[in-house]
């Protein structure tokens, strides 16, 4: 399983690799790719499985688990009346 610490370490290694590549042949083409990546934004509130957290990179995508898990989420938006209309003995 990827831990937060391992993830940060791998990002740092990747950044070092990018720096080295920029000095290598073909660096101009690679630089274009790098330019197309969105610039870092300010910290935003994002969500991981419906739980809010502060994402300091501003780039994180919300994570939603695959269908089949969290299967009661379908009931979250239903009023008490709508829920009991179909699930009176659930």
């Amino acid at each position: 399983m990827l831990t937060r610490r391992d993830f940060v370490a791998q990002i740092a290694a990747a950044a070092a690799g990018v720096t080295a590549l920029s000095a290598a042949p073909g660096a101009a083409a690679f630089a274009k790719v790098v330019e197309s990546v969105p610039a870092r934004r300010g910290a935003v509130v994002s969500f991981h499985m419906d739980r809010p957290y502060v994402d300091p990179t501003g780039t994180a995508m919300p994570y939603y688990p695959p269908s089949g898990t969290r299967s009661a989420a379908a009931a979250a938006e239903l009023s008490e009346e709508a829920f009991r209309r179909m699930q009176c003995y659930a």
Binding site: R70, S71, A72, A74, A76, Y89, A90
Partner: protein, 486 residues
Amino acid sequence: MVDFSNHPEMKGFFAPTRFEADVYDCEVIGKIPSDLNGAFVRLGGDWLYPPKFEDDSPFSMDGYINLFRFKNGIVDYKGRWVKTPRFKADFAARKQLFGKYRNPFTDDPSVHNLDRSVQNTTPLCFAGKLFTLKEDSLPYEIDPKTLETIGPYDFHGKYKSLTFTAHPKVDPVTGEMICYGYEATGLESRDVFLYTIDKTGHVKREVRFQVPYVAMVHDIGLTQKHVIIPIFGFVSSMERLKEGKVHWGWDNTKPSCVAIVPRDGEAKDIRWFKGPSRATVHTLNARTEGEKVILEAAIYDGNPFPFFPPIDGSPWDPTKARAYIRRNTFNLASKDDGFTEEKLFEMNVSDLGRVDDRYLSLPYRYAFTAFADKQRPFAEWKAGNMGGRVNNCYGRFDLSTGKMSSYFAGDTHSLQEVCFVPRKNGAEGDGYVIGVASNYAEMRSELIIADAQHLEDGDVARVILPFRATAQVHGRWMDEDELPFA
């Protein structure tokens, strides 16, 4: 084409399942007790096709019977649709032909006069046969080996009511079944036929009488001397059916009316009592003590079902849809028609409670039912936000001490109706609490088995289904020697 997309309440765990299933040698966590031999039979509903009307009742769902067969520590599972004429007609047409709950005026003309019952309420084992019950029709006989539908049953032609309750009572002393049909002579009739059927399945007694107004008569209480028949604010009329409404509406002005019928008496011997507006949908147990007839049940403050809306057009009130274990006492020596009501436990519980059936109609101590313990955790990040709408515990309620012990199903689970299985030759309450839990994190159903005397210790075994079982209305344990199971 089948399309449930217009039904936001039928998503995720609550989507229809629509398949028949056999699971040979189910996965088990823990160890199945060696003295559990027989079957846990469940009956409930599922939509083969979407309802014709969005405001229809879930009680219109097609019947689905399923059983967990226990034998020598192994469990097999089988689930089958109850194949009534209505089911067969929809199946052949590949669409829903039937309209609103118990309202034939909303049906497709092609099914006019067809038996429109869906058998989705209670399984019954009696006189060596297996039945499904739905209160708007006769029982349906089911083959206990295959769960295939045999057809309607009228007890050798002697049961004359057109309808049969979903809650007959079997007297543990005599083996007799006390049962009834309401709207017994047809839609909107006030007629009730009350029967005693001997243990071989032959009608022994019939008493015919009328209720004060056409109302739901869903369950009764049985003592060794009396039958207690509560009716309450679910009302109906031919006018409302012709207007295209569901069968029942809620009339908050109607008092609770309770008939006390002597078991050896006639219609003229019935005594009617009146009380505050309540909904006694299901009962726990009853007894006669001298001149007093006592009924205990988880009784709602008001209308529990939003799909049977108030007839005065007011909004459904969820704060009245709470059930509490109460005791109603009817004094046959009194001159007035009132009765007393006590709340035995202050906590809100599921009204689908059970007792040790060996003590039905007799003095007893324990009641079992599900409830929501808000102090227990619920892992929304794994299971989804249910907004607190989970029955996460089964409770054993000691009516003699007022104490309660509980079983907790887990932080991603909600429990359906509880069932108590007595240990052979054990004392009252000695046995197992069983019931199906919905596991919202794993999208599957699990049958839990716990020692009824040690609920706090958790379950002794869980039978894992690799899918969602259909929602249960009622389930019953049937012993190995009661039916010729496969």
